[in-house]
């Protein structure tokens, strides 16, 4: 067998750090999708899945945040039981709720872009709470817009019906999740305003 003489192209230290956090945020989003919290006003099971989207954008910025959620989707398509209810596969992405999933990387990128306004994330304790609230509301709007349009196309529904069926039921829960997660990153809950690098 012929020997290969190729130089090893090492991945840079900062990239390794962002990459490792992106992997864990993807795994955390997958785990959040499996854990339900009983919620008084909604019959729908309440998972923390969208909290993973917020955290990806807030911690990792627009590019690496989107990478984290793309990893989450790829792992699900590859067959790991990471989507809601322990399901997996390409069919979930194509199915009626696929729009919500597909919108996650877009929403994380938007949240990261609004919060950090640059590719490398700023330290989280420099981000003001109103800016966070604004970015999370924008991210949530993207998720529901893409998700509802997708639902209406896939099921041949008028858009208004799709908004009611797919969106309105979950909006109170998602708003509560956003409030619960929002101050985690800036509010001194994480040790010393911990960022992902340094």
């Amino acid at each position: 067998m012929a020997e290969q003489h190729e130089s090893v192209e090492l991945v840079g230290d900062r990239t390794v750090q962002y990459f490792a956090v992106a992997v864990l945020v993807a795994a955390l989003t997958a785990a959040f999708a499996q854990v339900t919290v009983p919620y008084p006003f909604s019959p729908a099971p309440f998972t923390l899945q969208t909290a993973g989207v917020y955290l990806a954008g807030l911690l990792l910025g627009p590019v690496w945040g989107a990478v984290a959620l793309v990893l989450y989707l790829l792992v699900g398509v590859a067959g790991a039981p990471v989507f809601a209810g322990g399901s997996a596969g390409f069919g979930v992405l194509v199915g009626p709720t696929g729009g919500y999933l597909v919108s996650f990387p877009l929403a994380a990128a938007l949240i990261g872009a609004v919060v950090h306004r640059q590719v490398d994330p700023r330290r989280p304790d420099e981000v003001s709470v109103p800016l966070q609230a604004l970015s999370l509301a924008a991210g949530l709007a993207v998720v529901y817009l893409v998700g509802s349009v997708w639902l209406s196309v896939q099921l041949d529904l008028p858009l208004a019906n799709a908004l009611v069926q797919g969106g309105v039921v979950f909006v109170p829960g998602d708003a509560a999740k956003a409030v619960a997660v929002m101050v985690l990153v800036t509010g001194g809950y994480l040790a010393h305003g911990r960022g992902v690098v340094g």
Binding site: V8, A20, L24, V75, A78, G79, A80, F90, Q154, L157
Partner: protein, 234 residues
């Protein structure tokens, strides 16, 4: 739950790339060809695929129960109009047909999930997505797959701890915050250790990949996949 199961069926012996392509082609054909004849033919094909993967359709439907429930209630929603004439019963029929297409796609993707290990899909991603993004996404898929059970166990243990300390008397908001905080802190600690381990092992953009090879079986599957994908153009 539907995940990879080791077996020796026809579908297990195929290369992941031909299965991915056939899956994609099937989805394109299902959504682009609307006639009853086409849907009948695609139903037959989906059943052949399930048989090749030795997977029962009932099991697929149970694995995707939440999608099935959503599809089942949709005709009720579809028939309602927010304005006169308030009810449109024919629209319910349209949405039943639309839901049936999704069930067909679920059958085929369920067969893929049962017959393809995650590492094979990862190898396909890493080999065929170009450049550094392809390398990072390929390695990332492998790592997320390894870390998912650990992070889930972290969350379950902190959920149990919260319950043991009478946490169910706290508000939903407070419980959510505690759970998210513990999950996030442990995930970030794991990320630090992972980054250190990757650097210590000379994490590179050009590693050695697991081998992938087409067998004779793969070529007909590839042809069918391509044919289905371009069928809307015919």
């Amino acid at each position: 739950m539907l995940t990879y199961e080791p077996d020796a069926t026809l579908a297990h012996r195929l290369d992941p790339r031909s299965k991915l392509l056939a899956q994609l082609g099937f989805a394109v054909a299902v959504f682009a060809r609307g006639s009853a004849l086409a849907l009948g033919a695609l139903t037959g094909l989906a059943l052949v695929v399930l048989a090749a993967a030795r997977l029962s359709p009932v099991r697929v439907l149970r694995a995707y129960w939440f999608v099935v429930v959503l599809l089942a209630v949709t005709p009720l929603f579809a028939a309602v109009r927010f304005g006169p004439p308030w009810l449109a019963p024919l629209a319910a029929v349209d949405s039943v047909v639309a839901g049936y297409r999704i069930v067909l796609v679920l059958f085929v993707s369920g067969a893929y999930v049962r017959t393809t290990p995650v590492r094979a899909t990862r190898a396909a991603i890493q080999r065929h997505l170009p450049g550094r993004p392809g390398q990072l996404l390929g390695v990332g898929v492998g790592l997320v797959f390894r870390f998912f059970p650990l992070v889930l166990a972290d969350l379950r243990s902190s959920q149990a701890a919260i319950a043991a300390r009478a946490g169910d008397r706290r508000s939903a908001l407070d419980r959510t915050r505690r759970l998210a905080l513990v999950g996030l802190m442990r995930a970030l600690d794991r990320a630090d250790r992972l980054a250190l381990a990757l650097r210590a092992r000379c994490f590179a953009y050009n590693p050695t990949l697991p081998p992938l090879a087409f067998s004779r079986l793969d070529y007909p599957v590839l042809v069918v996949g391509v044919a289905l994908a371009v069928s809307p153009l015919l």
